[in-house]
């Protein structure tokens, strides 16, 4: 209880308190308090120490407070306290394993943000994509980053594997690390592929239809695997939901598990390998000792990784603002098979292989053997040396493998081996089913009304872009391998803001022997290909 006496003493107590405070060094007090705060946040580093870290100076206290962080902080306890200098040389790892991990986190974060605006059903998925582009602030940025991150991650993981192979780092005792790596490569590819379907556009739908039909070719269980993936004989609501769950739940969880195991093996059990020269090569002993010296994670590697993090992130943001656009075609339509279907580029090698022979052999059995071989490399290769000069066979096989991969990928591109009828090709090149193409690119204003015929058209003296485009069309129609070909563009207005364009190519029909077919009246029979489409004032094709 507050007595009367206390009340009477109050002014005096207050006065004393103020005097006490004034007598103290205010700066000192503030610094001490701040220090305590900082120490709690940084798991034991005080301000002075932090500044020393950022200056690149040595530790200010003994024992080294930076090591304590590795036991008190969860995030830092995952990282080792020190590395051997040579194992951190940039040209040894190129930071590709780090980059794979970092990109995985970027994918997690951008992916979770995209999930907020996306529902995986055939009727909403595509609409949600449009909504993300036109109605969600930074939606386009998130989507582009997510797409770019995914493609970069495939590249990073692959290159990481290549570097591990060429530095011989998979050899004893790191065989198991390599094995978990092969699993991670598979997970990364399937993560990308399962995400491919989610926008539910033509590109996605048909790439995934082709992809899953490959599963169909698996001996014995093919039909079942395919059914399990698609949820029905054709990809529909069930398939979309399954791919979604794979993409946002199952595969990420699996990835987190395997990245953890992989990382544990690398950093806790064996450490990153030393470059082969340092380990077994000829080297000045002083230099070797220096190369094997321990360097602390804090601050050297920490600042380096922070630096790389902002570098990569900012580079990605600039890339998506300047040139990288995640593609979005028209809504998936099972009834319309696109003229040019193509697999995502990281599966082009598989499509190339499929063109070479029996789909069961080329699409399932051979890739299976390749994966098994990849996983078994550390066990097959029993050459104990990691030095390049002692591994001529392994290195040449590696180079050969990469060359074959590039050739197969090239063969997988759509130009190779598939033909479209000439009339369809000409019009398709001008106004592709998907995307803009040179005709729409003219823009609403420059598209002229009227009828234009290849038989009568002559280039005016001061041709504009439209005339030039028609002249090119005329040229291609005249040179097409067709009998007396004729092309027409008919352009009129359907609505005050909507132009209607009919493009037509007609030609005389020939029988197998190249003779002109005649109808009952003795007139030659004409064949035709026609495409009708519209251009709206606000479509903005000219800006693409």
């Amino acid at each position: 209880m507050l007595g009367l006496q206390d009340l009477r003493n109050l002014p005096r107590d207050f006065e004393r308190k103020v005097r006490e405070l004034l007598n103290q060094d205010l700066e000192e007090v503030v610094r001490e308090r701040l220090d305590n705060r900082v120490r709690t946040i940084t798991a034991g580093l005080d301000l002075e120490e932090l500044r020393a870290i950022f200056r690149g100076d040595g530790p200010t206290e003994k024992p080294n407070p930076r090591w304590k962080v590795h036991t008190t902080s969860f995030l830092f306890h995952i990282r080792p306290r020190y590395y051997q200098r040579a194992s951190t040389w940039f040209t040894h790892t190129f930071r590709l394993g780090w980059l794979s991990t970092y990109l995985f986190f970027i994918e997690l974060i951008t992916g979770i943000i995209l999930m907020v605006y996306y529902a995986p059903t055939p009727n909403t998925a595509y609409r949600d994509m449009l909504n993300i582009l036109s109605n969600v602030r930074f939606g386009l940025l998130m989507r582009d980053l997510h797409r770019l991150g995914a493609e970069l991650m495939v590249i990073a993981v692959f290159l990481h594997m290549v570097r591990v192979y060429f530095t011989g780092s998979y050899k004893k005792p790191r065989e198991f690390t390599w094995l978990t790596g092969v699993v991670l490569l598979g997970i990364t590819l399937f993560l990308s592929f399962s995400g491919y379907l989610l926008p539910w556009d033509q590109l996605a739908y048909w790439a995934v239809t082709i992809g899953t039909s490959m599963a169909d070719k698996t001996p014995l269980i093919g039909r079942e695997v395919n059914l399990l993936l698609r949820g029905a004989p054709d990809i529909g609501a069930g398939g979309l939901l399954r791919f979604y769950l794979l993409h946002v739940l199952f595969l990420p969880l699996l990835a987190i598990l395997f990245i953890s195991v992989h990382y544990y093996k690398v950093s806790r059990e064996h450490g990153i390998s030393l470059p082969a020269v340092v380990e077994e090569g000829e080297m000045d002993e002083d230099r070797r000792r220096w190369a094997k010296e321990r360097i602390d994670f804090i601050p050297d590697l920490l600042t380096h990784e922070l630096f790389l993090s902002v570098l990569v992130l900012v580079a990605m943001v600039i890339a998506v603002t300047v040139w990288f656009d995640a593609p979005l075609e028209s809504q998936a339509n099972p009834q319309v098979t696109p003229l040019d279907t193509k697999a995502p580029w990281y599966f082009l090698w598989l499509q190339g292989m499929l063109k070479l022979g029996d789909p069961t052999l080329m699409g399932v059995i051979l890739p299976g053997i390749i994966v098994a071989f990849l996983a078994a490399i550390p066990y097959i290769d029993n050459n104990p040396s990691r030095l390049a000069k002692n591994r001529p066979v392994a290195l040449s096989l590696g180079v050969l493998g990469i060359i074959v991969l590039i050739i197969l990928s090239y063969m997988g591109t759509p130009q190779w081996g598939i033909e479209t009828p000439p009339a369809v090709r000409i019009i398709q090149d001008l106004v592709p089913q998907e995307g803009v193409g040179p005709f729409r690119k003219l823009g609403y204003e420059k598209i002229k009304l009227g009828t234009f015929e290849t038989d009568t058209f002559t280039l005016p003296e001061n041709p504009d872009e439209f005339d030039i485009l028609f002249a090119e069309f005329q040229e291609r129609v005249r040179n097409a391998p067709l009998a007396s070909p004729q092309g027409v563009w008919e352009i009129d207005m359907l609505q005050p803001t909507l132009k209607r364009v009919k493009m037509r190519i007609t030609w005389t029909k020939l029988d197998e022997n190249g003779n002109v077919l005649l109808d009952e009246q003795g007139q030659p029979v004409r064949d035709k290909y026609e495409k009708v489409f519209f251009v709206h004032e606000d479509s903005g094709y000219e800006y693409e």
């Binding site: 009727n123 386009l140 903005g540």
Partner: protein
């Protein structure tokens, strides 16, 4: 190294923040632009779907085909119709629901000709796959957006839509004969003849309900000479006039008697002449 990387890192971060700030400043304008583009492209798609699925009954320009389907591009439709049927929502939702579910019982039999009295005929079939039709919800929405885009039409432009607007500097059509032809082509389009008849000289005339009218002038003579002819015409001109005014007198073999009967009352004498003269030359 540590210091250098920290300095560079700070610079890069600042650059990154500037880029993000720049994106943020333009974001609202960009969203609005993309919204407009997406809408415009959906209208284009809707127009394609309309031309593929609906022209047989509503005509290529949505001007309606007498006896088969009402016009969808006129003021009445765009401004009054939803209120008239007591639809509580917007024109857009009216269009979406009507197209998706079709119409079992006709609300305006005057547009349907003989078909309206057939108790088994559905006025318009459903189009959405939800109700057994061929189109998906997004397709229906695109068509509705396209039809709604007719709203921007000033009524006086209606007459011009079918024929291309002459470009600047282009010769205006010659007076006299060409003028009569233009009137006839307009009529042929406006009245929906093109929904049922193919005719090479009229853009969009590819209907297959009735016979193609190419070469009619020559054909007419042989038709009236044929003993199977049941009408009263004695010259090709008279035959064509009769076919329009009173189609049931003689029904071309192989075709049903579905050509609308009211054209005679709708057309003025000059208009009928123009049509007949025009068809004679085909």
């Amino acid at each position: 190294m540590v210091r250098l990387q920290i300095a560079l890192g700070v610079i890069i971060t600042v650059v990154g923040l500037i880029v993000v700030a720049w994106i943020a400043l333009n974001e609202d304008a960009n969203l609005a632009r993309r919204d407009q583009e997406i809408l415009a492209r959906r209208i284009e798609r809707g127009a394609v779907l309309f031309e593929q699925n609906c022209y047989t009954c509503h005509g290529f320009n949505a001007q309606g085909v007498p006896g088969l389907g009402p016009p969808l591009n006129d003021r009445e439709m765009l401004e009054q119709r939803a209120k008239e049927v007591g639809w509580p929502g917007s024109l857009y939702t009216y269009l979406v629901r009507t197209i998706a579910a079709g119409r079992i019982v006709s609300t305006r039999p005057e547009y349907l000709g003989g078909k309206a009295s057939d108790p088994n005929a559905m006025a318009m079939p459903p189009w959405s796959e939800e109700y057994g039709g061929p189109l998906r919800p997004a397709d229906i929405e695109d068509i509705a957006l396209f039809l709604q885009n007719f709203e921007e039409f000033p009524p006086e432009l209606l007459a011009e839509i079918a024929t291309p607007v002459p470009e600047e500097g282009e010769q205006p059509p010659e007076q006299g004969e060409a003028d009569v032809d233009a009137v006839a082509i307009d009529l042929f389009t406006q009245l929906g003849c093109l929904g049922c008849h193919a005719l090479a000289t009229v853009p969009g005339a590819v209907g297959t309900v009735g016979p193609a009218l190419d070469g009619l002038g020559e054909r007419a003579a042989s038709i009236i000479a044929d003993p199977a002819y049941t009408g009263n015409a004695t010259t090709p001109e008279e035959y064509i006039r009769e076919s329009i005014v009173d189609p049931s007198v003689f029904v071309v073999a192989g075709y049903p008697d579905v050509m609308p009967k009211g054209f005679g009352d709708q057309l003025s004498e000059e208009q009928l002449d123009a049509l007949v003269q025009f068809l004679m030359k085909q």
